[in-house]
């Protein structure tokens, strides 16, 4: 249910760039975040949790896993267990530890009530670390290498498809030094540097700048950066830093947009995943 980015995309952008959200909530106000945003649970006792963790390691790990996501002996993932998620104070977990689910294969564990409560507290403390949209706590700390491609094949592909605009000794010289993470580099080159909706008025013209020429009925042609376009208006950024906006009516005036990044977008329907991995394997050699 990945609706988050779409929903945020529907909100108008802020007028000015917002500062990064504070890591600590403002006093008296709790912010939303994490697996159950805003949910309030009493903080656990660190001593009890540490005790529970040790007991868990002895009695639970082999079935439920060191990370609680299921172990070698087939016990279920506790981090997505409705019982573990709903447990407030051991009231749901402790009876199961003591054998209430033997008919479902969960043996009775001989822990005294205090120790069972400590294990429950430890489980809750790990549940608290589940990430946004149910992401397991351990994921993303060590990303595996994305480099699986053939650099030689990538070089040939680059020469054939990219060489008319790009050069390994020109604009892309040292690209793998400038962007030393292969995944970031791959995402960057496949996207061509990303897409923008509305161009800021004051921005330096680069080789990626989208330009537009507007030919008026009088024959006058106005050329410049494309600031904004829709079915009804087109706004041109002129060399002197001013803008002109034209009304559009049934193809009048004539508007021609020149988007140097169009070639990148058109290639999205053409690349195979192998092409992409090969080119990335080649680009990471451009140190």
């Amino acid at each position: 249910m990945a609706v988050v980015s779409r929903m945020l995309a529907q909100n108008p952008p802020p007028a000015t760039p917002s500062p990064a959200p504070p890591t600590a909530p403002a006093s008296g106000v709790r912010r939303l975040g994490g697996f159950v945003p805003g949910q309030q649970r009493p903080p656990g006792d660190p001593v009890q949790i540490a005790h529970g963790k040790a007991l868990y390691g002895v009695s639970c790990t082999s079935c439920h896993g060191a990370d609680l996501r299921g172990g070698d002996l087939g016990g279920p993932n506790l981090l997505r267990s409705q019982v573990a998620l709903s447990d407030q104070n051991g009231e749901l977990i402790i009876p199961i530890i003591h054998g209430s689910r033997q008919d479902q294969g969960m043996p009775a564990i001989p822990l005294n009530p205090e120790d069972a409560a400590a294990v429950a507290a430890y489980i809750r403390s790990v549940v608290e670390t589940i990430g946004n949209q149910g992401k397991p706590p351990s994921v993303g700390k060590e990303a595996p290498s994305i480099l699986v491609g053939d650099a030689t094949a990538g070089q040939a592909y680059f020469a054939a498809k990219c060489g008319s605009c790009h050069s390994a000794t020109g604009d892309l010289a040292g690209i793998a030094t400038k962007i030393d993470d292969p995944k970031t580099l791959q995402t960057m080159w496949v996207s061509g540097g990303g897409r923008r909706r509305r161009m800021p008025v004051a921005v330096a013209v680069t080789r990626r700048t989208i330009t537009v020429s507007v030919t008026l009925p009088s024959g006058e042609t106005v050329e410049g950066r494309l600031v904004q376009i829709d079915d009804f208006l087109v706004t041109v950024g002129l060399a002197d830093g001013t803008v002109r906006t034209f009304r559009r009516d049934d193809g009048v005036p004539k508007v021609e947009v020149h988007d140097p990044m169009k070639a990148h977008r058109d290639l999205l329907a053409v690349y195979t995943d192998k092409d992409i991995h090969d080119v990335t394997a080649y680009l990471v050699t451009l140190k």
Binding site: M1, A2, V3, S5, M7, A9, Q10, N11, P12, P25, A26, G28, V29, R30, R31, L32, F35, V36, P37, G38, Q39, Q40, R69, G70, N77, L79, R80, Q82, L85, S86, Q88, Q133, G134, K135, P136, V139, G140, A143, P144, S145, I146, V148, Q186, T187, V190, S191, G192, G194, R195, R197, Q228, I229, D230, D231, F232, R265, L268, A269, D273, I276
Partner: protein
Amino acid sequence: MTLTRLLLAAPLLLSTAALLGQSESGLDPADLLKPLKDAWPSYNGDYSGKRYSALDQINRSNVQHLTLAWMCRVTSGPAQGGRGFGRPSVIIGGEGPGDIFTGGGTIKSAVLEVDGALYFTMPDNAWAVDARDGTELWHYFWKTKGGTHIGNRGLGMWHKTLYMETPDDYLVALDSSTGKERWHKPIADLAQGYFSTPAPLVVGNHVLVGTGDDIDAPGFVQSFDPETGDLQWKFFTVPMKKGDVGLESWGNLDAARHGGGQAWVTGVYDPETKLYIFGTGNPTPAFTMGTRGPGDNLFTSALVAINVDTGKLGWYYSTSPHDMHDYDSAQTPILVDAMYHGKMRKLVVTAARNGYFFTLDRVTGEHLVTSKYGLDTNWAKGLNKVGAPIFDPEKNATVAGSLVSPTSDGTTNWEPSSFSPDTGLFYVAQDNGYSLFYLIDVDPRGSMGLGGKEEAQVGSGGSFLTAIDYATGKTVWTRPYYGRGGGGGLLTTAGKLLFAGDGSENLVAHDISNGKPLWHTRIGEVTNAPQTYLLDGHQYLIVATGDTLWSFVLY
């Protein structure tokens, strides 16, 4: 006063009350059975989900004269907002502590129009405003306990009671005249990750309620008694015990019970068969097979029909069997009675988030038509024997990255599409975004929820207003958008118009026959589907942008 005089006077008294949005009787559930015309009494306006209004006062020949009637900006939260003299104070409910900051808020809800009043929501907030001038009549605010505050799709109405779901999983019943709370009932456990966004749908003496969840939790639809709020039935969208239909499509029962399939968008209803038909969300874990097994993972990413009186399964159809890209099928299906291969058929049509369009028989669930309407859709390799796309394992999230269209946002999403009986065409706004899907959780046990992948959106093949022939699935025409168009959803009318936001901050009236824009107004990014109603003999058009509701009219 003679009896005759009394009878003559009664409608006058009633209409005075109606002027204030305070009709004595409120909304008769039987009125919900009427095709969409003067009022807008439910999420889609009528049960069919067509979002086609029979109003034609605003039409192709005069839409250029459409003008602003009023606008109304609302302030979410417990502080007094609104405008005008003697504005009402906020009515506060809820079980939360009152100090959880949930941000501003955006109107993504349908707006009910009944007896001259409009009713709409943001998460934790409900409002009534005067349909004639936008004056706030009341504002209800719910103090939350937390949960994902991504959106709220609006209210359901039964006589004089309105129903709202909250992000912390309550069903709240409000008096439509005053905004005062009648009762609230828990509908799911927040601690298990559930959050609730749909607009409840009233059918007879049922209030139908769905919920959402992103972690590995079972989806369900519940029916509540409109008077008491008591639970009538609960239908799980995944198998929950041995013997349940669909269990063989899962690796094991534990996987099924954590399999997702959330019912997070309001469905449609067929009075003849008594079937409530709705779409379900992705299976979980979403991007890894884990213990899900190689099967279809029923009834996730599917259309599901259940009997509204019993909550029992009628039929199901997987639109993304064994989904691997978070392609929920939780869009609004549309019920159409139309010719198919020379026979009048009772159909249900839907353009799914995965880039495929489907026509089914809505009585039996029999598959009739599949087409790929997403111009760049590339994740599947053909269709199975019942016409559903077969996922290409090469296009699953991989460590090295796979380039997939659409993105997990989909070719479309929750935004309602529309069907016009005048043209026989189905209308949807499609977006052909591409993402690199990187697998970052290689654990053979599978990841959890929507975790385990990174998704980088790398460009788009374009966004298009799209008209599809229901009988063939063929795209009849497309019209390109400069932005990502259709953001809040679509409306068609008997005035031969199609209304939608264009993704470039315009509300646009299109000629329904070819998509040509005939009228527009630059009001900001549209955030809900345009709607229309008739009041005092005038047809109004309303739409929301962020925290603002706009109303247009022909004078």
